[in-house]
């Protein structure tokens, strides 16, 4: 094993071989052993994709999922940064409010999902709100952590050199906070996705939840797997973008 997959690209090659093997086993099992009402082979899923995308309602559901995700994430970033700055502003606000934020974070948020539907209805608003309610916590936690990471010496030296309060925020605090803000955004992306998917699956009368339920009730695994593959791809791409951005913006702080 070690001899075949050595060198810089060894792990990548083994990864590709493993995935290919997995797909082959799945293909074989689905073709010859498992009831086609439950599992569709990978080739069947791929063959079904054009048909899936020819339904304008499915395309609309995916598009609205994407839009909900974007708006929820934007709300989480803006509101989370504002709350985080307020919480981290003074040692007193940090010590008294931060534990409350941590306590709220520990509540399994899924339990209040039905309330969001009750308040915001079955449409996009409840999905955006539920997604944003998930995404806001990592942003707050990381903005606060970023503010704590600013060294008092830097602020003090800026002050002695006659920097104004605005200048200190712009030139000292913000650059120090950028890496942890992006770390927060990467985590927020993952949980915002979770929140939106939760709300989408809970509401089975419209959107993604409607189609996943219809496809399983029709015993149509090719369409179901296809839709899920598309959603998983969106999730993986968005997470990867967030991860790359984090790497990019934290590179300067290599000390």
């Amino acid at each position: 094993m070690n001899k075949i997959f050595r060198g810089k690209y060894g792990p990548l090659a083994l990864r590709i071989v493993s995935i290919a093997l997995l797909l082959a086993v799945w293909e074989g099992a689905a073709r010859w052993f498992i009831d086609p009402e439950f599992v569709s082979p990978p080739s069947g899923v791929v063959a079904e994709l054009p048909h899936l995308f020819s339904d304008p309602k499915v395309v609309a559901a995916i598009a609205s999922f994407f839009m909900e995700l974007t708006i929820a994430f934007a709300i989480a970033v803006v509101a989370g940064t504002a709350i985080g700055l307020a919480v981290g502003a003074t040692p007193f606000s940090y010590r008294s409010v931060f534990p409350i934020v941590l306590l709220l974070y520990a509540i399994p948020q899924i339990t209040v999902l039905p309330l969001f539907i009750l308040y915001f209805g079955l449409g996009t608003a409840s999905k955006i709100a539920f997604g944003a309610s998930h995404g806001i916590f990592p942003i707050v936690l990381n903005v606060v952590a970023g503010m704590k990471a600013v060294r008092p010496v830097h602020i003090l030296s800026a002050q002695t050199m006659g920097a104004s309060k605005m200048q200190i925020i712009r030139r000292v605090i913000l650059p120090q906070m950028i890496p942890s803000l992006f770390a927060g955004m990467r985590l927020a992306m993952a949980v915002t996705l979770l929140g939106v998917v939760l709300a989408e699956l809970y509401v089975s009368t419209t959107g993604i939840g409607y189609f996943t339920q219809t496809f399983s009730e029709r015993f149509d695994p090719a369409d179901l797997f296809g839709l899920i593959t598309v959603l998983a791809t969106i999730a993986i791409v968005l997470n990867e973008v967030a991860r790359r951005l984090e790497l990019h913006f934290s590179r300067w702080r290599s000390d």
């Binding site: 520990a106 399994p108 993952a190 699956l201």
Partner: protein
Amino acid sequence: MAKSDRLRTRLVQAGFFVTLLAAWSIESALRLINPILFPRIENVATQFVNVMTSPATLGDVWTTMSTFGAAYGIAIIAGISVGYVVSTSRLFTKTYEPVLAAFYTVPLLIFFPTFILFFGTGVKSKIALGCLAAFFPIALNTIAGFTSVDRNLRTAAISFGASRIQMLRRVLLPGAFPIILTGLRIAFIPCFASVLAGEIIASDSGLGHEISQNAQMMETARMFAYVFLVIIIAALFNLGLSTWETRRGRTLV
């Protein structure tokens, strides 16, 4: 931190909860918000007593906790086994760790509809979902734990002629244990939340089922009572796990 400071902090935190309860009581007394949207505090209290004294609750708690237990148990065995195998070679670690880490960030809940298709709306689909959610953090922490064991310790054990089993029992497991334990604690919340999510989205029993049923029937006060029960269970579990984690971690290091 000075003592007076700590007192002041605690006072603010206590004040927050007192204010919250007071605001809720005043809102309930003045009947400001439609109780279907936000229930009155006294109704939630009554419903909470009703829920706690109802014999059916024990069944719901049992359904949810046994589902969670099965999912968590399978995930622990699978996660530690897979983590151990991946950690045995550098090639495996380099190959599979990024794959496991990538999966960890995908909302695994999107696979729930396929589990409903395979296993139906009973407990099996929730076990599968909870297990999937807990597997990745446990496997990743197991890899991190085993690979973090001091190389000198391994070399020493090998030169003293330790067998593979001895190496695992006497060197690797004790060294990796604190990090694996952290993985178990991290996995608790996603596993428990996934079981509840599964019950809320599609099920016929359990605490999550009660929450979504009562919400759909606009019995918001009763729904709140169940939400509080779930929060209490989760908090107790988390407290137990983190106490165990700090205690075990200390004795072993």
